[in-house]
């Protein structure tokens, strides 16, 4: 089973909401759609699920064109961000409902519901109604319904977004195991880069209705194709600034310049955009070739064992994220060090140059 999108687009009232998307999603690992709210993740899932019609393009399932096939006939599952269960049915009936609709024998239905309930620790609640459950249990019920159906494709649209932190971590650890070995294409939409990294598999980065990059998660994290992809796959936001390359020197402003090495040194001279992730900008000098820069601290945050500082570098707002507690004073200049070996260089058209 594989799910393939060929130049799929969607229009809403004359505006192209989903720009041509080409994707090939395979089973056996998580396919994460990562993008901020409004990037088109849910819209794309709705197209794949058949809940919306494509304006153009084709959707193939196992080489079969399902573009015109109704949702009911696609044999898929969908878990929403909000906990959606049938309110008048017990948890058991909720999990069993897609199986009963398909006309499955009673004994088979019971066996599958038992298995799914077991996996998601819902056994003691099978007789209860959804509104008698906690949020986590409600979402597990929705997940159990998706698992029991053993469908060809499972779409998880930010399923953990409305759960509290602890539950979210617990369920996220469990998710890959739940769907492992079932042969279904699993598509997982999220707005958190961290989730994409944790769930592994492959990731498609979405921005403004386009899939800007798709590939093995770690690979696209290390090698963003363009500035937008790098921005989508970074939290806190990736730091970016205009630089001028001349010879082997990169010059950000009068005070911040460094010597380029490796591929970057071979680039033709001219303007580039340098981008570096916040945790490669530190208030502590860690390597000898770290680039010092002075910035005016604007906001500081201490999240557990990490401290972050937002500072102004020229006209750009940068973020530093470093382990440990650092004494920043808001409004004062502070010295930061950028690890130049971790920098990305993007050409004027936004694509990765080095």
């Amino acid at each position: 089973m594989a799910l393939e999108l060929r130049s799929v687009t969607k229009r809403i009232g004359g505006i192209q909401h989903i720009k041509p998307v080409n994707l090939r999603l395979e089973p056996g690992h998580f396919n994460v759609l990562l993008g901020e709210t409004g990037a088109g993740k849910t819209s794309l899932i709705k197209l794949m699920a058949g809940l919306d019609r494509c304006a153009t393009g084709q959707i193939m399932m196992d080489g079969r064109d399902v573009t015109a096939l109704s949702t009911q006939k696609r044999n898929i599952s969908l878990v929403h961000q909000f906990f959606v269960n049938y309110p008048h049915m017990s948890v058991f009936d909720n999990i069993a409902s897609p199986l009963r609709v398909a006309g499955m024998a009673r004994s088979e239905v019971e066996a599958r519901v038992e298995e799914a309930a077991d996996l998601l620790q819902l056994k003691p609640m099978l007789r209860r109604r959804p509104h008698e459950l906690s949020g986590g249990q409600q979402q597990r019920t929705a997940l159990a319904r998706a698992i029991a159906k053993e469908s060809n494709a499972v779409f998880l649209d930010e399923p953990l977004a409305n759960l509290d932190y602890k539950l979210r971590e617990e369920l996220r650890d469990q998710l890959p195991d739940l769907f492992a070995g079932r042969g279904a294409v699993v598509v997982y939409a999220t707005s958190e880069p961290e989730e994409a990294l944790l769930l592994g598999g492959r990731t498609g980065l979405m921005h403004d209705g386009r899939v800007t990059q798709f590939g093995p998660t770690a690979e696209i994290y290390r090698n963003p194709r363009d500035l937008i992809s790098a921005e989508v796959f970074s939290d806190p936001p990736i730091n970016a600034a205009q630089i001028q390359k001349q010879g082997s020197e990169a010059r950000l402003n009068a005070n911040v310049k460094w010597t380029l090495t490796g591929q970057a040194a071979d680039l033709t001279d001219g303007p580039y955009t340098v981008a570096v992730r916040p945790h490669h900008v530190s208030p502590v000098k860690s390597t000898d070739d770290a680039v010092p820069m002075m910035g005016t601290v604007q906001v500081t945050e201490l999240n557990g064992s990490e401290s972050s500082a937002h500072f102004l570098l020229g006209n750009d707002s940068w973020v530093s994220l470093a382990a440990g507690v650092h004494p920043y004073r808001v409004g004062e200049d502070h010295r930061f060090f950028m690890d130049a070996s971790k920098c990305f260089y993007f050409g004027p058209d936004g694509t990765l140059a080095a």
Binding site: T71, F82, P87, H88, S97, P98, V101
Partner: protein
């Protein structure tokens, strides 16, 4: 007892007084009612009720009323359900205007429609049938039911519909086995209001019927018979008229609170 409680008790007594007076009257003879003031029936009589339950011209009034009211409620809900679903789930050209226009039907007094309905139903042979009154009341009740149901339906996230389609439900099966149970309180509230408005409406019901479908409210206006004023009988009929409404309210009382919360009642 605190002062505040007394105010509540006095207020409730004030509200209940006319109903008590009606019930008390229904157990009195007409002679006693006319003879003067008495808090309790001096001579208890069930004759008034006996007359109503044995005289066809009386009990048929009830049967007729219940028949057209039930028919109207069923038609109103059956028509309003798909309409309300469309209004709550789809955006189409002029949807808001259509919705408003539906509601404006409720703003005209019933008397405005009495003449056209009378003429129309006489022409097509519907005059003096249950259908005549039931259909005429639809003019008021369908917009009301659409409005109430739309509120309840819009409270159900569209993701529920999507989940059902993904699970393999066809639209009709989803609507009947998933959606209707989900908004059952809305259906209850809408049915109650249709029932109530149809039950208390007198002008159209009286205009559009003669003998065969004559409602109880019309029967009650013939109190001055050859025997003079039959006030006890009238009181008994009035008491019996309150009962169906009270029964229906009992069943939907919790749902109505939900309707209020949605701002739709």
């Amino acid at each position: 007892m605190r002062k505040r409680n007394w105010i509540v008790i006095i207020y409730i007594l004030f509200l209940l007084l006319p109903i008590y007076w009606l019930v008390a009257m229904s157990f009195k003879t007409t002679g006693e009612i006319l003879s003067g003031f008495s808090l309790f029936p001096q001579t208890w009589t069930f004759d008034n009720y006996r007359v109503i339950f044995t005289d066809p011209s009386w009990y048929w009034g009830y049967i007729n009323s219940i028949a057209y009211v039930s028919l109207n409620t069923v038609i109103s809900i059956a028509v309003a359900l798909p309409a309300a679903y469309a209004f709550s789930r789809y955006r189409f050209l002029g949807d808001k205007q259509l919705f408003f226009w539906l509601l404006t039907n409720r703003m005209a007094p019933a008397a405005v429609f009495a003449l056209p309905f009378f003429q129309l139903y006489s022409a097509v042979g519907l005059f003096d049938t249950y259908w005549a009154v039931a259909l005429a009341h639809c003019l008021f009740n369908i917009p009301l039911a659409v409005w109430i149901l739309e509120g309840f339906m819009s409270g159900v996230p569209v993701e529920l519909d999507e989940t059902a389609y993904v699970d393999g439900y066809s639209f009709p099966r989803f609507f009947i086995t998933i959606f209707l149970p989900t908004i059952s309180s809305g259906v209850g509230v809408a049915a109650f209001f249709c029932f109530m408005f149809s039950w208390v409406e007198l002008l159209l019901a009286k205009t559009l019927t003669a003998v065969a479908a004559k409602p109880i409210a019309a029967t009650m206006t013939k109190t001055a018979s050859s025997a003079g004023y039959e006030l006890g009988l009238l009181a008994a009929a009035g008491t019996l008229t309150i009962i169906p409404g009270a029964i229906v309210i009992y069943f939907v009382r919790n749902y109505i609170a939900k309707g209020f919360a949605l701002g739709r009642v």
